[in-house]
Symmetry: C2
Subunit: 515 residues, 2 copies
Amino acid sequence: IIDGWKAVKNIAARAWEMGRSDPRKVVFSAKVGFGLTLLSLLIFLKEPFNDMTQYCVWSIMTVVVVFEFSIGATLSKGFNRGLGTLCAAGLALGMAKISEWAGDWEEAIIVIGIFIVGFCITYAKLYPPMKAYEYGLRVFLITYCLVTISGYHTREFIDTATNRFLFIAIGAAVTLAVNICIYPIWAGEDLHNLVAKNFMGVARSLEATVNSYLDCVEYERVPSKILTYEASADDIIYSGYRSAVESTSQEETLMGFAVWEPPHGRYKMFRYPWKNYVKVSGALRHVAFTVSSMHGCILSEIQAPPEKRQVFQSEIQRVGYEGAKLLREIGIKVKNMEKLGEEDILYEIHEAAEQLQRKIDKKSYLLVDSEGWEIGNRPRFAAGETNDLMNMDEPPKFLYKSMSEAFLDLKSDQAHKNLDNIIVSDEVLPSSVAANDNVSANKPVSWPAHVSFKADTVIIEEESKTYESASSLSLATFTSLMIEFVARLQNLVDAFEELGEVAMFKDPLEQQVPQ
Amino acid sequence: IIDGWKAVKNIAARAWEMGRSDPRKVVFSAKVGFGLTLLSLLIFLKEPFNDMTQYCVWSIMTVVVVFEFSIGATLSKGFNRGLGTLCAAGLALGMAKISEWAGDWEEAIIVIGIFIVGFCITYAKLYPPMKAYEYGLRVFLITYCLVTISGYHTREFIDTATNRFLFIAIGAAVTLAVNICIYPIWAGEDLHNLVAKNFMGVARSLEATVNSYLDCVEYERVPSKILTYEASADDIIYSGYRSAVESTSQEETLMGFAVWEPPHGRYKMFRYPWKNYVKVSGALRHVAFTVSSMHGCILSEIQAPPEKRQVFQSEIQRVGYEGAKLLREIGIKVKNMEKLGEEDILYEIHEAAEQLQRKIDKKSYLLVDSEGWEIGNRPRFAAGETNDLMNMDEPPKFLYKSMSEAFLDLKSDQAHKNLDNIIVSDEVLPSSVAANDNVSANKPVSWPAHVSFKADTVIIEEESKTYESASSLSLATFTSLMIEFVARLQNLVDAFEELGEVAMFKDPLEQQVPQ
């Protein structure tokens, strides 16, 4: 009994939590209850028409089935149900006439008719473009069978058909009246908010990605949920862009309902361009993919050394900051339905990206492993060109100088510590690869897993160098992805401008004029 | 009339096409028709019980509503409908007893009861974890209202309730018998095929990406459908990985149905691990994201020069080839439900990736723009270090030499042509950026779109250099992504091995033993 009490308390707590986080759900539930109550009252009033009760079921069923969360869904379902019933009743009456003429073959015609209609309707239902009318087809089938069969028994085809239609109409009318008049919930508004929310999610992801990349956050062990792309609310980066990437089908559904909704609230326009919200969200998704790739750089086993990341710190940070700011700004503008201002919204971020790019150009020696250059390691190759052979030793020396110079930039003791780190990590790497030699070969942590098959030290050393230079290139990848991210923003801004145009967003300039 | 005839022909052609591409749809439609026919026959037999017709509607409705494409969906819906009806009937009978005792307050109690039940059920329906039982809750609500109201009129609560349940049971029995006995369609099999198909899609995408990257296919104008992530069947690369990325919700739905299905066919096991198929597909999705990023490199406005790509051609091609081969191999193994063999399936691809990596190390000077190195362009910076100043001019010279050497590798006239191309493209670039100056600034084609705001030639030149060096880094990005792709394969193989283990796939070795 105590367990039962606890379970009840638990359920009550969850229900309360849900109501608190989205009060619309409470309101909607009350609306459904109210609609049903209204209909049951109707039935008390109709006491004299006692034989009507068997049709009353249609009203109630209509309320339960058609009463959907958003107005758009309710309208679309109500339309489907109404049209389906009407068409099916018409067809059934026609078939009834035919089967009456047929005399002795009546039963056969009814049965064959049911089979043919059942086959055709089900087949049509499976045709993908008909998916929006799936419910209507289902109702069509039910109504057709019903009118035919009950008509056959009672010989009151028209009565059955009209009664069914009448009571469905009553139910639909009650549903619509209650749903639209009392605190309506619009699918279009949900779509609008969803798109705006996705912007915030991607912005948050971007910020967190950049920060944890620069802080060199290491995933102790990458949660396998991310690797297998399952939902996970723990990781702030992951959950941010994932919801933007995943929301495709939700958007499609909401758009399907929103187009049914009459002009309302802030959306005072016939044929409101809901499609463009989905398009903006698609462009955002295309941007989110680069954020997802950047996140991949953090999850990757091949990591750039922290001291190299610090060289680019301020530039990367600025791009990340500007990018997140831009996304938030557009997100807020989407929410408030404002157009872009006069100034170029991409100016700052392009500036930041160019700064990053220029820094990369200047310090690009940090991104590659110059030691392995062909000319340095294989003097025999260019045997004929003695000039080059003379210069042979200089580039590496030169490069090391310039690298230590880069550390002077940091102007601190840390720079020296970092230099030590490089050396340390150089020594640590081969041994970690070698250690892997002894362990079983299918651990997912180490990248050159099949080293163990050819365990001579020369190759291991080569492996570790390969690994190290890959680790520097990974920094190049991260920065390239940032620049790709910035490049894709243009397309997002274009999609947003198109939306602002067709949806007639407020112009921030025009608003200031009247004052 | 001719138009009407054309439309009919058109519809018929489409229907035929659909039937040809998936004959299961034809079979399923025929099954539904057959089920309905069977029930209507039942009604003819029951001619003496004429008053039963009003309940017959429940049987027909059950067939129409419960008869779903896959067995799993049918079972889950049937279970929901049965349980919902049973519980609601029980509650309604209880409430009827209470309201009878209440005497004068009977009507009030009925109305209040309907409101409370309507509220609670709708609220529970909105609780996300209850989504699988959504249909059951709906049926519960309908049944409760129905039994209460028609019971109030006829005073035959128990009769109404039992009749409703009986006829629903008849409908459900017919549905199940027809659906399972005649050519059953299993959701589990669909899930299995979907996962295998996704492997092929990603493999195809990977191959096409690598090929078109090496062929330097330029998108004349990137279809905006890709930029806004809309469905598009035209682009082979895009459609391949997109279907893998997008199939999340489809997989979830199929899994939700598959767990309802009894052991059957090749899935002879209770509690078959359908979850692991979804997990493998998730790991594949994680791999597909890198393919999507590689595709992004092709779509990008920043493109690596063709002659540089050719230097890495054979290595990139090999990784692409091995990667696609591996994906296809695992895809076929998933389809045939075979375990991996003795040998390390990742051996070849790791070998290929290391080769690529080593090549990158050797030729990494190609990936960066050495001209812009801090030490070369800003001698003032290291004013104290005169040694470096002396060396100042050498690195660029040296690098250009080594670059021409790289072309010797290609050993053909083409190399010289390519060298010319570099020079040409060097000259072309500033002018193209300058041209952009004159055009409107918000074209999505050029990346430094706000150049036009500060149109002095010095900056334009700098821009174009920035652009050029970014273009080389884009090659680094592509290769890094390939290596990341390879690294992620490990995780995919692990997920597959886990699936093979828990689903008891055939062991190719054991199979050979009996022979």
